[in-house]
């Protein structure tokens, strides 16, 4: 059983992470991986880049808490979360999440839960840069509604 949640200053390598996460895994039937990518547009228009501000130490702990909560909530074996900070170009990975479980339902649900929590409770502050300038982003109503699905 391993729960890891890391802050990364460069793009996580989703393929290398997935390979390492699957390696030697004979007791689990399911691995779900999620990769969040920087899009080249948003509802506000074209996006030329993102900047993810963070608070060193505090941000790492916010990731660790979310990963631990997911592990406590679902019957899963291992969880790995890697979240990027700093400058991100469109098409680059922002977040990598992997969950392994004996059965697939728990793996899907835990990954879904992790992302809903990360989108609202990971301590990042995101700036979108576009041709018309920069704007700081808050979670969308959809993000908040997604998060609400898991409230007890």
């Amino acid at each position: 059983m391993a729960i890891t949640a890391l802050l990364s200053h460069g793009p996580p390598s989703a393929e290398a992470e997935l390979a390492a996460f699957m390696s030697g895994r004979t007791g689990d039937g399911a691995v779900v991986a999620f990769v969040g990518l920087a899009r080249d547009s948003s509802r506000a228009g074209p996006v030329t880049g993102l900047f993810l501000d963070h608070y060193a130490g505090f941000t790492e702990r916010s990731l660790e808490v979310i990963a631990a909560d997911a592990h406590a909530r679902f019957p899963v074996s291992d969880i790995r979360v890697i979240h990027r900070c700093g400058d991100v170009a469109p098409g680059e990975a922002i977040v990598f999440v992997a969950v392994a479980a004996p059965h697939r339902r728990a793996a899907f649900e835990a990954a879904d839960y992790l992302m809903d929590r990360l989108k609202t409770e990971a301590a990042f502050w995101k700036r979108e840069d576009g041709p018309d300038g920069s704007r700081w982003i808050e979670p969308t109503d959809q993000d908040r509604a997604d998060r609400q699905r898991w409230s007890d």
Binding site: G36, L52, D53, Y55, G57, F58, R61, S62, H83, R84, I94, V95, L118, K119, T120, E121, A122, A123, F124, W125, K126, R127, W136, I137, E138, P139, D143
Partner: protein
């Protein structure tokens, strides 16, 4: 450079009380990333919201917002918590998510 003339010299320990203030995200861009607040005695977080608002030009409005969080030494605390010298207070905009 030690203290200032209008501080009473009978309580010299209080002269050097400094609290480090960090503004994160958009707040850092608008108000400057880092500030130092001097104070003579421990303050509550609620006191700090007011004091920082007085010291940092333009920041008063965001410090009274309930969704602006202050964390002390990286720990989320209630507004009644006490903050002393040498501690770090971060002023956090609402998280944007990743």
């Amino acid at each position: 450079m030690h203290g200032s003339v209008d501080l009473p010299d009978v309580e010299p320990d209080k002269v050097r009380m400094h609290i480090r203030i960090l503004f994160l995200g958009e707040f850092g861009v608008r108000y400057g990333r880092e500030h130092t607040l001097e104070c003579r005695e421990p303050l509550t977080v609620a006191d700090l919201r007011r004091r920082i608002g007085e010291q940092v030009e333009g920041a008063a409005a965001i410090l009274t917002r309930p969704d602006t969080r202050l964390v002390v030494d990286q720990t989320i605390v209630p507004d009644s918590a006490s903050v002393g010298p040498g501690q770090e207070v971060a002023v956090l905009p609402i998280y944007s998510g990743g």
